[in-house]
Subunit: 325 residues, 2 copies
C-alpha cells in the first residue's frame, strides 16, 4: 500500500514530535506507551486522506488525525480493562503494565486531550469537528455497552450484531473521513457521503477482522487465533452458524459458548472452526462484507471528487478487506 | 441561602426533565442514578449565577449548567472506583451498585455528554466554552493524579497540596463561573476575574471541607467524621501539623499515616484530632482560608458588575465557607 506512504510518514513524524503532556509524568507516560505500540494507523490516515481529497496541503489535518488516534487509543485502554485483556499488540496492556486506576485516569485525560486537539481550527470549523466527534464518541460507548450486554444475552440477532459493530468500530472510520473532509472544506453532501462510505467500509472491515480471527494466518503478531471463540464472542460467524446449524450442532455451539463446557481451549477452537467451515459461514461473511463494500463505494461515487482520488480510496478498501492479518 | 432558590429550582426542574440518553439502558441508568443522588449543586448554580451577573435570562445557561454537573458526577464515578469508595452521599457508589466495568463506561459517556451539552450555543460561543471546559477537565485529571501520587510520596509540601486542590477542586468552580459569564456575554477581563474568583473561592472551599471532615457536625449524612484521617489523606491539617509538631508527635503522625500502625480507626481519629487541636492547625487553616477568600473577593471587585450582584456573590462565599456540614 505504497500510495499511503505520504500520510503514514507525515503522521509518524507528527506523532514522534508530539506529547499529550508532561507533568505529572505518572499521568502522561502510560499515554505515550500505548501510542508508541504502533498499529495500522488507519484512522489518522483516513483523516489526512479526507482532507487530501479536497486540498493539496493535507498537513493541516494533522492535529485532527492525532485527535482521532488518541481517541482510538483511549478506547483501547478502557476496553482492555473491561475485557481483562493482558496483551495489546504483543505488549502488556496499560492496566497490566501500570494499574487499573492509572489506566482509568490516563484514558480519561486522553479522551479530553483528543477534544482539545480539535479546538485549534477556526471557531466555526472546530465547532463542526467537535460535533461530529462527540456524536461518534457517544455512539462508540453505546457500541461497547452492546458488546458487553451481548455476553450475557441469549437472543442476539445478526442485525443486533451489525448495529453493534457499526457503533463500536465503523462510526469512527466514518467520522475520521468526515472530519478530514470538513477540514478540506468539502461540501456538506460530500462530507456526509464520505461518512457513510466510512461506516459501510468499517462494517466490512470488522467482518473481515472476525474472519481473520478464526481463519487468519497464525503468524499474526500479538493475537491468538480463535481468540473470539475462546472469549465466546457472538460474532457474525457464530450467529450465522446458529441459524444454519442442525439441532445437535446448535446445542453444542450454545453449550460451548455458555462458559459451562469442560472442553480445552484448543479443542474448542478446533471444533468450532470445523463447524464454521462445514456451515460455510466464512463464505456468507464474505458475501455480506462485499455488500457493505459495494454500498461504501456507491457513496464514494456520489462525491464530487476526481476519478483518481476515488480509485485511491477504492484501492484502500480492497487492500484492507483482502488483507490476511 | 434563600437567594439561591431561583437557580436551584430552575436547575432541578431542568435536571428532572433531562435524560443523558435512553438506550442501551445499561449504559445510561447508572448516570441517572448518580445524578439523582443530589448534592449541593453548587457548580451548576455558579454557571447560572455567572450568566445572571450580566443578563436577566439566566435560563439560557441551563445546558451549560447541566454539562458542568454531569462532568462533576463523571469525576465522582471514576474517582470512587480509584478510591475504592463504597458510599457516596449515603448511597452505594456506581461501581458498587453496578460494576467497575459499568462505572468506567458510564463515566466515559457522561464526560462525552458534558461536551455535547456545550455545543448547542452559537459556534463561536461554543468554541469558547469547550476551550475553557477542556482545559479545566485536563487540569482536574492532573489534580486527581497528584492526589494519587501523594498517597505514596513522602515529601509533600503545603504548596504541593494547595496546587493539588486548586487543580482537583477549584478550577471547576472557576470554570463554572467563567462559562456562565461567557454565556452572559461578559467582557473577557470580567470572565477572567470571575475565573480567578472561583479558583480562590474553591481553594478556600476545599480547606473548609478538610476542616469539616475532622471537626464537622457528626450528623452530616453519608460521611464518616475523620474519613480523611482513616484514609491517610495528606491534607493541609496534616501537613501543617508535621511542620509544627514536636519530634515525638511527628514520628507518631508519620507512623499512623503510613498504614503500618495497629491502632484502631476510632483511636487513630481520636489521637490525630487531639494532636490537630493542640497544634491549632484548624486555626491556621482558617487563616489561610480567609486569605483565599479575600483574594477571591478582590477579583470580584475588579468586575464591572453592580454592587448588589457583588454582594450576592460575597454572601454565597461566606455562607459556603461558614457552613457546618
Amino acid at each position: 500500500m505504497n500510495y499511503l506512504q505520504p500520510y503514514i510518514v507525515s503522521f509518524k513524524n507528527y506523532l514522534e514530535s508530539s506529547l499529550i503532556g508532561n507533568s505529572p509524568s505518572t499521568l502522561y507516560e502510560p499515554a505515550d506507551y500505548i501510542l508508541s505500540l504502533g498499529g495500522k494507523r488507519i484512522r489518522p490516515i483516513l483523516v489526512l486522506l479526507g482532507t487530501h481529497l479536497y486540498e493539496e496541503s493535507f498537513e493541516k489535518a494533522l492535529d485532527a488525525a492525532f485527535a482521532i488516534e488518541v481517541f482510538h487509543n483511549f478506547t483501547l485502554v478502557h476496553d482492555d480493562i473491561m475485557d481483562q485483556a493482558e496483551l495489546r499488540r504483543g505488549q502488556l496492556t496499560v492496566h497490566k503494565k501500570y494499574s487499573t486506576n492509572q489506566a482509568i485516569l490516563t484514558g480519561d485525560v486522553m479522551l479530553i486531550h483528543s477534544y482539545e486537539k480539535l479546538l485549534g481550527y477556526s471557531p466555526v470549523l472546530s465547532h463542526m469537528l467537535v460535533s461530529v466527534f462527540s456524536k461518534m464518541a457517544e455512539e462508540l460507548c453505546k457500541g461497547q455497552q452492546m458488546d458487553m450486554d451481548f455476553e450475557t444475552r441469549e437472543n442476539v440477532s445478526i442485525g443486533d450484531y451489525i448495529k453493534m459493530i457499526e457503533l463500536k468500530t465503523a462510526v469512527l472510520l466514518g467520522a475520521a473521513l468526515k472530519i478530514g473532509a470538513l477540514i478540506g472544506n468539502a461540501a456538506d453532501s460530500d462530507a456526509e457521503h464520505l461518512y457513510q462510505f466510512g461506516i459501510n467500509f468499517g462494517i466490512a472491515f470488522q467482518l473481515q477482522d472476525d474472519v481473520l480471527d478464526v481463519f487468519g494466518a497464525s503468524a499474526h503478531v500479538g493475537k491468538t487465533i480463535g481468540g473470539d471463540i475462546i472469549q465466546n464472542k457472538k460474532t457474525y460467524l457464530f450467529l450465522k452458524s446458529l441459524e444454519l446449524a442442525s439441532d445437535e450442532q446448535k446445542s453444542n455451539l450454545v453449550r460451548l459458548y455458555s462458559g459451562h463446557s469442560n472442553m480445552s481451549e484448543t479443542d474448542k477452537v478446533e471444533w468450532v472452526t470445523k463447524t464454521f467451515t462445514s456451515l460455510l459461514v466464512k463464505e456468507y461473511a464474505q458475501q455480506v462484507m462485499e455488500a457493505y463494500r459495494d454500498l461504501a463505494i456507491s457513496h464514494l461515487h456520489s462525491c464530487s471528487i476526481d476519478v483518481g482520488k476515488k480509485e485511491l480510496l477504492i484501492s484502500l478498501v480492497n487492500d484492507f478487506l483482502n488483507r490476511e492479518s
